[in-house]
């Protein structure tokens, strides 16, 4: 069938679909209400077909995208009677193919005549999703019920008519309903925009042609991927990475990857990973699949389209009941960052001997802070999530790592936004926000630097803080002889109290007006032995104040 499609048509359809998801992303960015979306871009867009195959995606947050096919399958299983004008919403990792509860996903079907062919999909991280703590991350949770409201696939719109009762139900369970409604409107707007554009594509080329072009795109992408993989060394390779702790007394939780590479096929087996936890560091199934896909995507060529075709050479094996695939009912909120980062790192480490020129030093871990308080300038409540102080990226054969760039699961896709805008919107004062010297892992190529942030709380009433993350014990790994990056180190400075090191999983931190958060985020891992670093590069590091120690 695909042979009938001429290369120009295939190219037009392929680029049109990716420009549609890009346009959906622009709409999302520009219309959403909460800072986590309109500044930090914690959302993703995709087009999947009715078989749950990923056809096109926008390069926002890699860890979202690989999970969307699983959510699509859950929707297909639940609803056999989808009509034009329907909108389906979900977030549940066990009943809806979701990753974790704050990631709410909207699906809009695209029809050609009476035939339903594709979904335009928007997944966005909500600033709050109910549950025991504000801001969705609850280190104390031992059951998913404590993490927020669970939404199985539901029809939020039926034939173009919104179910206001359902909307009210959701909004009532969320702390900042106004923002939630604004963000939901933005999500639906973006999905509908995509629907219109895809419908136009059908009318322009005919649905048959578009469908045939899609098959041809997926096949071509598979071939392209296999050609790359077949150049790597065959063998069975092992790698592992450690989570600091689960916040409930367990430390050094191991993620173990056994990778079998043969010809153009790759099999990743995570079944040797440690058992599941009582806390939110567990991964859901969809998220584990997404993390493996993400690691693979980093090793193949950057310009290969990231669709189902690219993932065909990849086989994933895992065991339910382990940290990478928890039993139903377990809490999972941290999973899109942890253990996602550790899953990626274990796989990349394993592949160091198979394709050394493609692996990179470890990228930073996520260590978040959310603050809830009252803005004295307008008396309104606010919830602020920290996206500043991005950690450093790993070094590679190409050179030193990026500084202030992000984690394995975001890799420069999360924007920390303008500090000026943050100061206008929140009662916060950013005293310092600069590179953190000496944080990048040494090596022939140095890991990128983390950031030193000192931020003062300018409320009149006390506020509450939560942390959620990892990477204060273990820094991002060095690769092929490179050194690890410095781990995170956050402290709370409060007048009249001893400075206190913040743990990565804390609830209800008491913050007083004038308190200063002293954040030092991790650097990235180095690549290659430090003995091979050039004298020029070392002199430059010193002149720029990036490295203070004499080596």
């Amino acid at each position: 069938m695909s042979s009938k499609i001429d290369p120009i048509t295939r190219s037009v359809v392929q680029h049109r679909l990716s420009s549609i998801v890009r346009e959906m992303g622009e709409a999302m960015l520009r219309t959403s209400y909460s800072q986590i979306l309109n500044s930090s871009r914690d959302f993703s867009l995709a087009i999947c077909d009715t078989r749950g195959r990923l056809i096109a995606q926008a390069d926002h947050i890699p860890v979202h995208v690989g999970a969307l096919p699983w959510a699509t399958l859950a929707v297909e299983e639940r609803f056999k009677d989808v009509a034009p004008g329907d909108v389906i919403l979900l977030n549940d990792p066990y009943q809806g193919g979701g990753s974790h509860l704050p990631d709410v996903t909207a699906f809009v079907p695209v029809f050609d005549g009476g035939k339903r062919l594709l979904w335009t999909i928007v997944r966005a991280h909500q600033s709050d999703i109910g549950g025991a703590t504000h801001g969705a991350y609850n280190p104390g949770a031992t059951e998913i019920y404590q993490e927020g409201i669970r939404i199985p696939p539901i029809k939020l719109y039926e034939a173009g008519k919104p179910r206001e009762d359902l909307l009210d139900l959701l909004a009532l369970n969320i702390r900042n309903p106004r923002e939630f409604r604004g963000d939901l409107a933005a999500m639906l707007g973006a999905a509908h925009l995509g629907e219109r554009r895809v419908a136009k594509l059908f009318s322009e080329f005919g649905a048959d042609t578009v469908e045939a072009a899609i098959e041809a795109i997926l096949d071509a992408t598979e071939q392209q991927t296999r050609a790359v993989v077949s150049t790597w060394k065959d063998g069975v390779f092992h790698g592992e990475a450690l989570l600091d702790d689960d916040g409930h007394g367990r430390t050094d939780i191991r993620i173990s990857a056994k990778v079998t590479k043969k010809g153009s096929d790759i099999e990743v087996d995570l079944s040797g990973s440690d058992p599941q936890s009582t806390s939110f560091v567990n991964s859901s199934h969809a998220n584990m699949q997404a993390a493996v896909a993400m690691a693979f995507a980093y090793l193949i060529d950057a310009d290969i389209p990231k669709n189902t075709g690219a993932l065909r050479p990849l086989k994933v094996i895992a065991k339910q009941g382990t940290i990478v695939w928890a039993d139903p009912g377990r809490p999972v909120t941290l999973c899109t960052s942890h253990p996602s980062n550790e899953i990626v790192e274990a796989i990349i480490k394993a592949m160091a001997s198979s394709c050394p020129n493609r692996v990179m030093g470890g990228w930073g871990r996520r260590f978040r802070i959310a603050i809830q308080g009252e803005d004295p300038r307008n008396g309104r409540n606010f919830i602020w999530h920290m996206f500043q102080a991005r950690p450093g990226g790993g070094a590679s054969i190409g050179g030193d790592g990026y500084s202030s760039i992000g984690e394995w699961h975001t890799v420069g896709g999360l924007k920390f936004g303008s500090i000026e805008v943050a100061e206008v919107r929140f009662p916060l004062h950013f005293r310092q926000h600069e590179f953190r010297p000496d944080s990048g892992g040494d090596g022939q190529h140095r890991g990128g630097l983390g950031v030193a942030l000192d931020m003062v709380l300018e409320t009149q009433k006390p506020a509450k803080g939560n942390t959620a993350g990892d990477g204060a014990r273990h820094g991002p790994c060095g690769m092929l002889g490179g050194k690890d990056g410095e781990p995170h180190r956050y402290r709370l400075l409060s007048e009249g109290r001893e400075p206190r090191v913040l743990r990565t999983k804390e609830v209800g931190i008491e913050l007083r007006p004038g308190d200063c958060l002293e954040v030092r985020s991790s650097g990235g891992g180095g690549w290659g032995p430090p003995s091979r670093r050039s004298a020029d590069a070392r002199a430059r590091d010193a002149a720029q104040g990036l490295v203070s120690k004499a080596v």
């Binding site: 709409a27 390069d59 554009r197 005293r431």
Partner: protein, 679 residues
């Protein structure tokens, strides 16, 4: 009276003059990269000669000279701008290198970060801090400022960017720093963020200010020299520079906002293309401007080119409004080479105008695309530049032979390979502007212009299944011609600070002040009629991105003015994003005014359609079209509206050559332009 357009390209400087009768004359002269004004003055000599007057007489009778320059572009692309230092708020000197935590290409984890224009050792923190309401949390520390200025001096920087947090709201600290710099480092040029881009969001502001500081000394030096040379040569009119947004401004303004000239060159081409679209009645065109060193590709859709403030050039964020253009570093002068794996490459190196292709005989030995075209028989060595600069055919052959030898191919196979490679590269550039944005190029006509486009347009179009090519008679100088149709444009904006809903009086006061400022400024350069374009940047309460809401035809005196503006916002939001939230709070952020001085478009020569009869070729020559063919050669000057032919044919004009491929059908339209339909 004459109006003159001058477009300095990488290889040639193009000039066009029109007079009141609509008579249009053009000239071409080699560019002089070391000092572009030398080439401009030489070109003016040539232009005067063609008008049959002396240069002094021509310049004395010229009221307006419009100039597109690539001085800023080249400085940025080649990293040959000023040595810049940055003065910024203490504790925040890495804003520009952090890029808000973003990097391009999510899945490329092996490309290292780009070098910032200002390395960390020249980014200095100054002790001062404004708060979000504009008040000073820490007053500007005079002693600390003095220390930093001493360090700037030691660093050897010759240009300084000043950008403090919240400086868009209260420029006091920036102004004080600038004053002190002027006193202590009088020879150093200074760019201030609250002047360059007085808008919230520090990354965009600091990056744009740094780019301004980086290109300003070069731009200013160049424009000042040019203005002096022109005055000395007898020019008494006004010199205008085309800006990246397609409007034009006087030298003083272009020097102040030098970062706004980075697309000055290609912007003329877009103005010209838009004018072509209008004259042809074809609203959808892909302007394809292939010159010697670079090729510019843009898109005219529905008769319009798009403007945005999302621009990047050479990896630098420039948040000033500009036209949407893709530039490829390849053209007729691109050099062919063979790498160690015996693979043929074309570019990115270019022979430029000095030494130029081998056939120029200026000592260039490398085989260029132009040399391949000579070998293939497309270019007539003897007739080049109207015979004024005959080409050395033997030199082309020798250069192409070196490539052929390395590839173990015949001479002609090597030449055809070079042509194929450059054509694929050009097609890729067009894909970037069309396919990658989801636009199907097949519905567009290719507007072929620039000296080198005519020989490649057919193959490039075929690659993309574009079926129609238009070659205007002014093809080789279209950018310069387009500059004559640019409007004068001065843009200002102001942020509305206030809480709650804006009042009608506040709207009126904002626009009145902006209009006075913009029109007053424009009035000092321009005597004609001034049109005012108003728009507002607005958003819903919690959003952070504003949308630009055009406020044309709005009655500012209306009682329900604010409601009308809000209604336009809701409608625009719905148009763009499929929904409006009419119950929600609407915030009026920026008022924006453009004062536009409309310039009468140049005259047009509409010929008469004589007949559909074929016209007689001037001769024949051997050209390679997959095999050697005897191809008839026509002079563009002989062609009249209504003439038609079927390829193969070569159409020669003084400054460009057009290849009509076998089976392609060419007609001459009523404007005298070539209209080619591919087989």
């Amino acid at each position: 009276m004459y109006t003159i357009g001058v477009d300095v390209g990488g290889t040639y400087t193009d000039l066009v003059a029109t007079d009141q009768t609509g008579r249009t004359v053009f000239a071409k002269s080699p560019s002089t990269p070391a000092d572009q004004s030398v080439g401009v003055m030489a070109g003016l000599d040539e232009l005067a000669r063609r008008l049959g007057v002396t240069r002094a007489a021509m310049l004395a009778a010229t009221d307006r000279l419009v100039h597109g320059t690539t001085v800023a572009t080249n400085a940025l692309l080649e990293r040959k701008g000023a040595k810049v230092a940055l003065l910024t708020t203490e504790g925040h000197r890495d804003v520009v290198e952090m890029r808000e935590g973003l990097k391009p290409d999510r899945y490329d984890l092996r490309t290292p970060p780009p070098e910032p224009l200002v390395p960390r050792e020249r980014r200095f923190g100054v002790r001062e801090r404004l708060k979000a309401d504009g008040s000073a949390a820490i007053p500007l520390d005079a002693a600390a400022l003095g220390d930093v200025i001493a360090e700037v001096k030691r660093s050897g920087a010759n240009s300084v960017a000043v950008c403090f947090l919240h400086g868009y709201l209260n420029p006091a600290h920036e102004l004080a720093a600038v004053e002190r710099l002027a006193k202590e480092l009088p020879d150093v040029s200074v760019s201030r963020s609250s002047d360059v881009l007085p808008q919230i969001k520090e990354y965009e502001r600091v990056s744009t200010t740094i780019v301004n500081a980086y290109v300003q000394p070069t731009v200013q030096r160049y424009l000042t020299n040019l203005e002096r040379s022109l005055t000395e040569a007898g020019f008494k009119g006004s010199l205008f520079v085309v800006l990246s947004h397609g409007g034009m401004a006087p030298v003083e303004e272009a020097s102040r906002l030098a970062a706004g000239t980075v697309l000055s060159g290609p912007a003329g081409g877009i103005s010209g293309s838009r004018r072509c679209a209008e004259m042809l009645g074809i609203p959808d065109l892909v302007p394809f401007d292939m010159g010697g060193t670079s090729t510019d590709i843009s898109l005219i859709s529905d008769g319009q080119a798009s403007l945005s403030a999302d621009g990047m050039l050479a990896g630098q964020r420039i948040a000033l409004r500009s036209l949407d253009i893709a530039s490829i570093a390849a053209g007729g002068g691109s050099i062919a080479s063979v790498d160690t794996s015996r693979t043929l490459r074309v570019g990115p190196e270019s022979a430029g105008s000095v030494p130029g292709p081998a056939c120029y005989g200026n000592g260039g030995l490398a085989a260029t695309v132009t040399d391949a075209n000579v070998v293939l028989g497309y270019l007539d060595a003897a007739a080049f530049m109207g015979g004024a600069r005959p080409l050395d055919r033997a030199a082309s052959e020798a250069a192409v032979d070196r490539i052929a030898e390395a590839l173990q191919l015949s001479r002609i196979e090597a030449a055809a390979g070079i042509a194929k490679m450059i054509n694929l590269k050009m097609a890729d550039g067009i894909r970037l502007m069309t396919l990658r944005r989801g636009v199907d190029p097949r519905k567009f006509a290719l507007l072929s212009f620039g000296g080198a486009a005519g020989m490649h347009a057919a193959e490039v179009a075929r690659e993309l299944e574009i079926r129609r090519i238009i070659v205007p008679t002014v093809a080789s100088v279209l950018s310069a011609w387009g500059m004559l149709t640019s409007d004068l444009r001065y843009e200002v904006s102001r942020t509305h600070y206030g809480t709650g809903r804006i009042s009608a009086d506040e709207v009126r006061a904002l626009f009145a002040a902006l209009e006075q400022q913009a029109a007053g400024r424009l009035r000092s350069w321009f005597r004609g009629e001034i049109a005012i374009e108003r728009s507002a940047e607005m958003r819903y309460g919690e959003q952070v991105f504003e949308i630009d809401v055009p406020l044309g035809e709005l009655d500012l005196s209306a009682a329900d003015l604010v409601a009308q503006i809000e209604d336009r916002f809701h409608r625009r939001h719905e148009e763009l994003y499929t929904y409006a939230s009419r119950g929600q709070e609407v915030v009026f952020v920026n008022a924006r005014v453009a004062a536009v001085g409309k310039v009468a478009p140049g005259g047009r020569d509409v010929g008469e359609v004589t007949s559909a009869a074929a016209c007689a070729p001037r001769g024949k020559r051997q050209a390679w079209l997959g095999g050697w063919r005897e191809v008839p050669v026509y002079a563009l000057d002989d062609l009249r509206p209504g003439h038609a032919l079927t390829g193969p044919a070569i159409i020669e004009a003084e400054t460009t050559t057009v290849l009509v491929d076998t089976g392609d059908r060419m007609t001459v339209n009523p404007l005298g332009w070539l209209d080619i339909t591919l087989r």
